[in-house]
């Protein structure tokens, strides 16, 4: 019993996103009011954002901003090497691990920083969510102008009788 509990706790982030997502999906399917549906859609999208961001999480790590950047040496050092590095940017995937060992002297510990990639991706997803929301609201206004209501059953009634 305890093991199941700890298992669920260890995956709590997934449970959270799934519950949130299902709430959104339910609102989109079952709600009658178009604005409520749009709200549901937002929740639905936000759930995925939560999911992604939780992937990036790493125990014992902090936000992905390097702490020692104020120090002149690493920057200068990096700047010297940078020309070469920027040029052969074509590191293969397998080289990445090698670099992790190789660049240990840079004093940047991978374990100290959380994974930045999901954050970047989610910035995009947030923007997409906002954009979709905007367009959805614009359409809802058009619907309201046409039918004078945002309740779906009333609109359907008008469509059937009209």
């Amino acid at each position: 019993m305890e093991s199941i509990f700890s298992l669920v706790l260890a995956k709590a982030n997934y449970a959270a996103y799934i519950i949130l997502m299902m709430i959104g999906l339910y609102a989109m399917i079952a709600k009658n009011n178009l604005i409520k549906k749009i709200v549901g859609m937002s929740i639905f999208q936000t759930a995925v954002i939560l999911f992604y961001v939780s992937i990036g999480c790493k125990k014992g790590a902090t936000i992905p901003i390097l702490r020692h950047h104020g120090h002149p040496e690493p920057v200068g050092h990096a700047a010297e090497n940078a020309g070469a590095h920027a040029m052969d940017a074509a590191h293969g995937a397998e080289k990445v691990v090698a670099h992790a060992v190789d660049a240990a002297h840079n004093a940047v510990h991978v374990a100290d920083y959380i994974n930045p990639l999901p954050h970047v991706l989610m910035l995009t997803a947030i923007v997409v969510g906002v954009a979709t929301l905007g367009v959805a609201l614009a359409l809802a206004i058009r619907v309201y102008n046409t039918y004078g209501t945002l309740e779906e059953d009333e609109i359907n009634q008008q469509l059937r009788s009209g």
Binding site: L7, A10, K11, N13, Y14, A15, I18, M21, M22, Y26, I29, A30, G56, C57, K58, K59, A61, I63, P64, I65, L66, H69, P74, A78, A79, N81, A82, G83, H85, A86, A89, H91, A93, V96, V97, H99, A100, A103, N106, V108, V110, A111, Y113, P116, L117, H119, V120, L123, T124, V127, V128, V130, A131, T132, G134, V135, L137, A138, L139, R142
Partner: protein, 274 residues
């Protein structure tokens, strides 16, 4: 419908949960996501781009191409709202203005209005009075919000922030102005055409920077090609390039936010509003 919906939802939820059990634990440092690609970014951001904020460097450089389209998505939303909602304002044959000190009402033909608008007050049914305290307070705060927005944009290299965040704050400040006064005043200060042109310009700064790299013989968006213009070596050029595109993003986001607000709040009439 509701029962069916609930059943579907329940089924989906259980299914998702079952498969989620195979996922690595929350915060597991050994998960593929944390071990495969992210170490590269964490370790190389300084030597590649000289930007300590890894999110910024990934956002605007490694995956800068994505971000360009992200900005385009915003612009698309702005265009979409405009296209869907905007209605041409009916030409109003004449308007009435009251001269505040004397109480005399004037009738003005066409779109002309008295220049000295502090003394003249337009009269029409749609006009919404706004509260003196709120409007003055907001006028007081707004400059600080805007300065903070600029800070967020400019300091995105070293702290959480960047074009999107700064742009949204900047946009919010204008929207706050529109709310605290009214839409008409806001449009008088920052017209729809300006908003539209700024949003295009913002994206153009981004895409244009990328295209400039093409002209310099490098691949699209490779800012290191811009070293001759931006100064510094190729790595610093990347850092500067990131700043340039972040500014573009900020301009675009600010303008689109305002543009969408104008259209949504007035249902496209761009006259009165909230």
């Amino acid at each position: 419908m509701k029962i069916l919906g609930k059943l579907t939802i329940l089924l989906c939820g259980v299914l998702l949960m079952v498969f989620a059990m195979e996922f690595p634990n929350w915060g597991d440092p050994e998960s593929p996501a944390s071990t495969h690609l992210s170490p590269y970014f964490i370790q190389h951001t300084m030597e590649d781009t000289a930007v300590p904020n890894i999110v910024t460097s990934v956002l605007a450089d490694y995956r800068g191409y994505d971000t360009m389209f992200e900005t385009t998505v915003i612009l698309t939303a702005g265009l979409a709202c405009f296209l869907l909602l905007r209605i041409e304002r009916k030409k109003i044959p004449h308007r009435y203005y009251r001269h505040e000190p004397t109480g005399v009402t004037l009738r003005m033909e066409g779109e002309k209005y008295p220049k000295n608008s502090a003394v003249f007050q337009r009269m029409d049914a749609n006009w919404v009075p706004y509260d003196f305290v709120i409007s003055r307070t907001c006028r007081l705060i707004i400059p600080f919000i805007q300065i903070f927005a600029l800070y967020v944009v400019a300091h995105g290299h070293h702290s959480p922030g960047g074009g999107f965040q700064g742009g949204v704050i900047m946009g919010a400040s204008v929207i706050l102005f529109a709310i605290s006064h009214n839409l008409r005043t806001s449009i008088k200060n920052f017209s729809e055409k300006t908003a539209a042109l700024f949003s295009v310009t913002g994206v153009f700064i981004y895409a244009g920077t990328g295209a400039l790299c093409l002209l310099f013989g490098e691949v699209f968006l490779n800012y290191s090609a811009l070293a001759p213009i931006l100064g510094g070596d190729r790595v610093m050029a990347r850092s500067h390039g990131i700043l340039v595109v972040e500014i573009g993003v900020a301009v675009a986001v600010t303008a689109v936010m305002i543009w969408i607000y104008y259209n949504l709040s007035s249902a496209g009439k761009q006259d009165e509003g909230l």
